[in-house]
């Protein structure tokens, strides 16, 4: 079964995370570099078409990834890189404070999102997760996974709390604890087996590894305990690896 409503909910959540526009008001900064290069597009591959000299005030129209669209009263708007932008001064004369996605931001990250795949009791699993770090050591996550077996498929939603005691050279081990629910349904070629939903709890461990910019690698293991109607509860091992980014 395809998790259309769940993906929809995830999309809506993502939409609400994007920043709200500031209307007609723009952020203004003063150039302190000898000159600021303006490119035609938000990337280093686009040509430089104009420069703004030191001391001039510029209006910041928008940001896309690490590029800022700016304009002054004369001339056309253009895009400038974060490396040049972060040396500018705001109107209070302070250097602008901007998150530029370096390793220091990795340890101080708040939001992260990732996709992983792996093994769930012999079946293939595809998982999407969204996490929020309250402190560098402590975070919470919600995840949605689809389990794709040969004769059945399942959908799992869960929430976890993560403890990240330390980070060393970009390697960040973690322990997690959480719970959720799993719905399992047999493929339509097999008759008689109806979909069943079971509550589950899990413990797990894993690690994050900082790759570059806003990216990290993630590996985790979870041991699920399914609370079944049968005489014995079921234990399931889950192994996954994937990539995540923080924002």
């Amino acid at each position: 079964m395809l998790p259309t409503p769940y993906i929809f909910i995830t999309l809506i959540t993502l939409l609400s995370l994007s920043n709200v526009t500031a209307g007609e008001e723009y952020f203004n900064v003063e150039v302190t570099d000898p000159f600021l290069e303006l490119r035609t597009g938000p990337g280093r591959g686009y040509p430089i078409v104009d420069i703004i000299e030191r001391g001039e005030q510029i209006r910041v129209l928008k940001r896309r990834t690490d590029w800022f669209k700016v304009e002054i009263n004369r001339g056309k708007p253009g895009w400038t890189s974060i490396d040049q932008f972060k040396t500018t001064l705001d109107l209070a004369g302070e250097q602008v404070q901007i998150n530029d996605g370096k390793q220091s931001d990795y340890s101080d990250r708040n939001w992260e999102m990732g996709v992983m795949t792996g093994d769930f009791a012999g079946a293939r699993i595809v998982a999407l997760y969204l996490g929020y770090s309250f402190t560098p050591e402590f975070s919470a996550e919600v995840g949605l996974s689809q389990v794709i077996g040969n004769y059945s498929s399942g959908l799992m939603a869960n929430a976890s709390l993560l403890m990240k005691p330390f980070s060393f050279w970009g390697v960040e081990p973690f322990f997690m604890l959480g719970g959720g629910a799993i719905t399992t349904e047999a493929d339509s070629s097999l008759a008689g087996d109806e979909a069943r939903t079971e509550a589950a709890a899990h413990v797990g461990l894993g690690l994050h590894y900082y790759i570059t910019r806003r990216f990290m690698f993630r590996l985790d293991y979870k041991n699920h305990l399914l609370f079944t109607d049968r005489t014995e509860n079921e234990e399931i091992d889950e192994w996954k690896a994937g990539f995540a980014f923080f924002f």
């Binding site: 079964m1 395809l2 998790p3 259309t4 993906i7 995830t10 999309l11 993502l14 939409l15 994007s18 920043n19 526009t21 500031a22 008001e25 723009y26 952020f27 203004n28 035609t40 597009g41 938000p42 990337g43 280093r44 591959g45 686009y46 040509p47 910041v60 129209l61 928008k62 940001r63 896309r64 990834t65 690490d66 590029w67 800022f68 669209k69 705001d90 109107l91 209070a92 602008v96 404070q97 901007i98 996605g101 999102m113 996709v115 795949t117 595809v126 999407l128 689809q146 794709i148 004769y151 498929s153 493929d187 339509s188 070629s189 910019r213 806003r214 990216f215 990539f243 980014f245 924002f247």
Partner: protein, 225 residues
Amino acid sequence: MEGGIRIFLLKLTSSITVAMGLLLVPQSNIIAAGLSNSEDEQLVRPEITRRTLTVEAIDTENFEVELFGGVISVEDFGANPVYGVRLAYHITEDFFAVGTLGQTQTGESSYERISGSSAKLLTDEQRKLTYYNFSLGYNILPGEVFVGGKTAFTTQFYLIAGIGSTEFALGDYFTTSFGAGYRFLGSDWFALHVDVRDHIFEIGIYESSRETHNIEFTGGISLFF
């Protein structure tokens, strides 16, 4: 009697006011003289209430939502119209993450066509193919195109790969997808896309499983927000 007292009080008050005014004038001259010695010549400084907005006020536009349509060839089930939606998050100028949801109604397999109307392998509901995937895109060739002598538009050619699942026929199949696309930015906030993807999954309908390659060709329009 009362009127006389009132007039007296009024005169008294006004004379005190005048006296205080005369006393204060030389004092304010002294203050002004003191100030003129400092760098600032102005007695009254203009109070400008500058609105300093913080960096949070900068409108970040890293999300892109796209509606697309085109043709998908589902191996042995014909080429059929496909449509769907994509949501992208631009992580850096090079990389972007995309979630895609797509759907098509497939036709008859070659076996069904040869054996005639009596031998249907799948119901209409089973013939519907829905897929989702999570992909990572890489803007490998950023560029510009020129329309006429004065107008230039930015473009990006990107490579993309992802994992996901396809629901078709009798079950769900783990799917990997690879492809490339071209993004034409009409302005900062909207773009046109042309994409090609290969969706690869193993499927077995009353036979042993085999790997299928399902090529999709789509066009789309997207908005940045």
